[in-house]
C-alpha cells in the first residue's frame, strides 16, 4: 500500500518531465484539466530543500482531484526541474507560462531564483506562489508571498531575545551566508537594533560563502565577542547545508543555549533531520509554523504527508505549510472567480481566508503578503521545536520595512487608489 502513493508521485514526475520535454502534447488536454506549474529544483544544491515542496504540491493536487477537482475539472501539476541554476529558473518559468499555459506556478526557494523569474512573470502576467521566508523589500502584482516578511520573523525573534524571558540580550552577532537575503535582513536588523539603543560596537556582522564547512574560527570569534560582559545572542541567517557543520561546531565547542542562544531563520525540522540535536537543545528558530503545533488540522496534515510519502520519519516544515496555505487560497480564489484567468484570480485572492495548520485564520492582504502568526521555538533533543513564544493573533506582513529609511516611505497596495507595489503616492488621486 505504502508504495502506491510514491509510485503515483514518481509517475507524476515522469509525466511532468515528459510533458516538459514534448510540450506540444500539452494542448490536447486543455479542456478537461486545469494546469499548475511546479518550479522547484529537483537536482543541484537546493534539491535538499525544494524536492519536499514539490511533493507537497503533488500531494495537495491529488487530494483536490480526489475531492472532485476544481470547477468540475481535474488539476494537473506540470513539474519542471530548474536544477538550482538561477537563469534556468527564468527559462523554465517562461516554458510553464507560454507553452504549458499554466494557471499558476508554485515555486522558488532562494531569493536569487525569485529575482530571476520575476521579469518573466511580470512580462507574461503569470501568477507565482512563493512559499519561503524572505528579506521583503518587494511586492510584485504577479507574486503572492506566502512565507514570512522580516517583520513576521526576524524582528519578533530579536524582540524575544531582548525580553526578560528570552535572556535580555544586549550584544548581537549577525551571522549569515553571503547573498541577498542575509545581507538585507541584517541591514534591517541593524537599523532596528540601533533604534532600540544598541550601539554599533555591540553588533558583530560576519558572512560566509555558501556551503561553508569550517566554522572553527567563527565560533571562536563569537565566544570572544561574547566575553565582554554583556549577554550576547547570535542571529543566524546561515542558509542550507552550511548549518549542519555550524551547529556541530557549536556543540563541540560547548556553547550552550543558556550562555549564547542562537536564533536561526533558515533552520527548520528538515534541516535538523540530519543532525544529532542533543547538544543544541535550547537554540532557537523563528517561523510561522512548527511541526510540533498542537492542533487537529496539523495532526491530519502530518498523517496525510507521511502516508503520501510512505515514511513515518519524514518531517514537515514551515515552507510546506506556506504552500498549503497558498494552494488552498488559490483553489478558493479560482472557485470564487469561476475561472483560472490570472487577473480574476488575483482580485479574488485579496481578503481570502484559510485556517492555517496552527489553527489561526490567515488572510491574504492587498500588498500580496499574508497575515500570519509568529512563533519562536527551542530545539529539542528529538529534532523537534518546543514553542516558547507566539503572537496572540496574526501579524500583517510588511513588504517594505519601516526600519530602512528609503523603504519606509513606500507603500504596497494593489487595490484602488494605490494599485502599486512600491509607490510614495497612490496612482489614482481621488478628485471629488
Amino acid at each position: 500500500m505504502k508504495s502506491i502513493p510514491r509510485m503515483v508521485g514518481g509517475l507524476g514526475v515522469a509525466a511532468g518531465l515528459l510533458t516538459a520535454g514534448w510540450s506540444v502534447n500539452g494542448a490536447l488536454a486543455d479542456d478537461q484539466t486545469i494546469k499548475i506549474g511546479v518550479l522547484h529544483s529537483l537536482s543541484g544544491t537546493m534539491a535538499i530543500s525544494e524536492t519536499t515542496l514539490k511533493d507537497t504540491v503533488l500531494m495537495m493536487v491529488d487530494d483536490l482531484n480526489a475531492n472532485g477537482g476544481l470547477l468540475g475539472k481535474q488539476v494537473e501539476a506540470i513539474v519542471v526541474d530548474p536544477a538550482s541554476d538561477w537563469p534556468l529558473f527564468a527559462e523554465k518559468a517562461r516554458e510553464l507560462i507560454e507553452k504549458e499555459q499554466v494557471a499558476a506556478v508554485f515555486g522558488c526557494w532562494t531569493s536569487v531564483s525569485r529575482k530571476s523569474v520575476l521579469p518573466v512573470f511580470e512580462e507574461l502576467n503569470g501568477l507565482l506562489f512563493y512559499p519561503v521566508q524572505y528579506e521583503g523589500e518587494e511586492s510584485s502584482r504577479n507574486v503572492f508571498y506566502t512565507g514570512a516578511a522580516p517583520n513576521q520573523q526576524a524582528i519578533p525573534a530579536v524582540e524575544y531575545l531582548m525580553s526578560e524571558d528570552g535572556g535580555a540580550a544586549e550584544r548581537w552577532v549577525l551571522l549569515g551566508t553571503d547573498y541577498v537575503y542575509p545581507r538585507t535582513t541584517n541591514k534591517i536588523l541593524r537599523a532596528f537594533l540601533n533604534s532600540k539603543g544598541v550601539s554599533d560596537d555591540d553588533i558583530m556582522e560576519s558572512y560566509t560563502p555558501f556551503g561553508h564547512s569550517d566554522w572553527q574560527t567563527i565560533v571562536s570569534d563569537v565566544k570572544a565577542f561574547a566575553s565582554e560582559g554583556k549577554q550576547t545572542a547570535v542571529v543566524s541567517t546561515i542558509n542550507g547545508d552550511a548549518n549542519v557543520p555550524f551547529y556541530k561546531e557549536l556543540g563541540n565547542q560547548g556553547i550552550s543555549a543558556e550562555d549564547i542562544p542562537v536564533v536561526a531563520f533558515s533552520v527548520g525540522e528538515e534541516e535538523l533531520s540530519g543532525l544529532d540535536t542533543a547538544p543544541l537543545v535550547g537554540h532557537l528558530a523563528a517561523w510561522n509554523y512548527f511541526m510540533s503545533v498542537d492542533t487537529e488540522e496539523n495532526d491530519a496534515f502530518i498523517e496525510a504527508w507521511q502516508t503520501y510519502i510512505g515514511s513515518e520519519d519524514r518531517v514537515v516544515n514551515d515552507p510546506m505549510e506556506a504552500h498549503f496555505i497558498g494552494f488552498q487560497m488559490w483553489a478558493q480564489a479560482v472557485r470564487q472567480a469561476g475561472s483560472t484567468n490570472v487577473d480574476a484570480v488575483r482580485q479574488a485572492m485579496y481578503g481570502q481566508n484559510v485556517r492555517s495548520l496552527s489553527g489561526y485564520d490567515v488572510t491574504m492582504n492587498t500588498n500580496h503578503h499574508l497575515s500570519k502568526p509568529v512563533m519562536i521555538g527551542e530545539i529539542q533533543d528529538d529534532g523537534q521545536f518546543d514553542i516558547v513564544w507566539q503572537t496572540d493573533g496574526v501579524v500583517v506582513g510588511d513588504a517594505w520595512s519601516d526600519f530602512i529609511p528609503e523603504s519606509s516611505k513606500l507603500t504596497a497596495d494593489w487595490t484602488f487608489p494605490w494599485v502599486c507595489g512600491n509607490c510614495e503616492q497612490p496612482i489614482f488621486v481621488s478628485t471629488n
Binding site: T217, S227, K248, S273
Partner: protein
Amino acid sequence: MHLFARVALVAVALWLATAANAEAIEDMVQALGAKESAEKIAAIDALASSGDERALGILQAMLDRRLFRVKADDRVVFADKSDGGYQLTDPLTGEALGEVGRRDVKKVSVNNKLRGKLRGTIGGMTLLSPEAEARAAAADAVFKTPNAAILPILDQAIEAETDASVRDRLERARAAVQIETSKESAVRQAAVETLAQFTDPDVRTLVASLLVASDDGFVEADDAVRAAATETLATIDAGIARWTLIGNLFQGLSLGSVLLLAAIGLAITFGVMGVINMAHGEMVMLGAYTTFVVQEIFRNHFPGGFDYSLAVAIPAAFVIVGAIGIAIERGIIRFLYGRPLETLLATWGLSLILQQAVRTIFGPTNREVGNPEWMTGAIELAGGVALTYNRIWIIVFALVVFAGLMILLARTPLGLQMRAVTQNRAMASAMGIRTGTIDALTFGLGCGIAGMAGVALSQIDNVGPNLGQGYIVDSFMVVVFGGVGNLWGTLLGATTLGVVNKFLEPYAGAVLGKILVLVAIILFIQKRPRGLFALKGRAVEN
C-alpha cells in the same frame, strides 16, 4: 497525664506539619506547570528550599523534560514515551497512573532562562554529591546563576573538597556569588582578585560586566573594585591571547588535515598518473555514503557496537570506492590517456551522473551520520580554547593514511611497479609489468583513499549528494601548490594552506580570507610553476 498530653500535642503538631508540608509540596509541584515563567521560577525556589528529598528528582525530571500537564484535569505528572502515547506516574508518590494518548498531555515548557535556573538550583542541591564529576558540574551551574543563599553550602563544599580541580571550580563559583551578591566592597574586591587566576571567557564575561556603564555610573559602584576588575581583566586577556594562538594553530592544522585527506587521493590520480579527475570529489562523497550505509546496518542489527562502526566503514569505503575507481579506469579513462581535455569533460560528466545517482538512491536530503562517543566533545584548554575530539582524530587519521601511502609506494612491489609505469611506461612494459593492470590498480588506490577521506569528512560535514563539490577545487589547489607528483609536497601544501587560512580568517573574514589565499597561490604559481616540490630529472620531461 501531663506528660502524655504533651507527647500527644507534639505528635499532633508534627502530623499537622507534615500534612501541611505534603499539601504544600503538591501545590509547588502543581505550580511548576504554571503558564508564566515567573510563577515557575517561584515554584522551583520553593521546592528547592522545602528540604523535601523528592524535590531534586522532580526538578531533574523537569530539566529532562519528563514533566507534563494532563489536559483534562491540569494535573502535573511525570510522563515517559510508550508505544501508544505516554506512561504517566505521580511525581510525589511514584504511583503509576496508566497510559494516555499523545495529545492528552502537554509538556511543561522549559525555556533557556528556566533551564539555567534549574541547572543552578540543582547545582546548589548537588554541591555535596559524592561524585567529583557531579560536584564540578554543580559548581559550574552555581557560577552561572549566582544566588546568595548558596554561599554557606559552597563554603562547606570547599572545606570538604579533596579534588584540586573541583576545588578551583568551587572557588570560582564562590567568587562569582560574592561579586554578584555581597554588599561589602572589600569582599567583592577580594573575589575579583581571586578570579585573576582563571583564564576563562566565562570569568572574563563576569569581570567585564562590572565595568559596563549603566544609567548611574557603572554596574559596579565602588572605584576600588573596578580598579581591581580592570587589573584582573588585563591578566585574563594576556592569558587568553596566548591560548588563542594555540587554538589558531590547532584549527589551522585541522583544516590542513582535512585538505590533506581530500587531496591525497588526487595526488595519486592527478599527481602520479596525470589524470585530471573531476569526479574525485564524488569518490569522497561515495565514501561518506558508505559510512552512512555501514552505520545504518549497525543501528539496525548491532546497536551496541555503534562506536566501532567507523572501524568497519574505513576498510569498506576503501574497497567499495576503490572498486568503483577501477571500474571507471577500465571503462572510461583508459581510452582517454594523453587527452587531458576529453578526460576533464568525461570525468566532469561522470561526477554529475554520480551525484544524481546518489540523489535518486538515497534522496536529495542530507543523511545522518552519527559521531561515535569517542569523537564527540572537546578537550577544554584554558582561555576558552577547545580542541574538539573529532578534529583531533581526523588529524591523526590523515597522518596515518599519509604514512601508509608512503610505505606502500616506497616499500612494496606494487608501489615499485606503479612508480615504474608512471615514470617510463614503455620500459616498464618491456620489463614484463602489465601496465594496464597497474594503471587500474593505481587509479583504484587513489579513489579508495578518497573513499576513506569520505569516512573522515562525514564526521564533520554534511553527508549529501553535493559533499564532493566543496572539496574538488581545494584538492586541486593543494596538489598544484605542493608540486604535482610529490606526496611530501601535498602534505606540506595542505598544512601551509590550512594554517595560513586560519591565521588570516580572524582578520579578513571567511570570504576575503579565502580570496587572499587564492591570490597568494596564483602569485606563487607564477613564480614557481611546478609548486613547492618540483620533480627533477627525466620524469619532468614527459
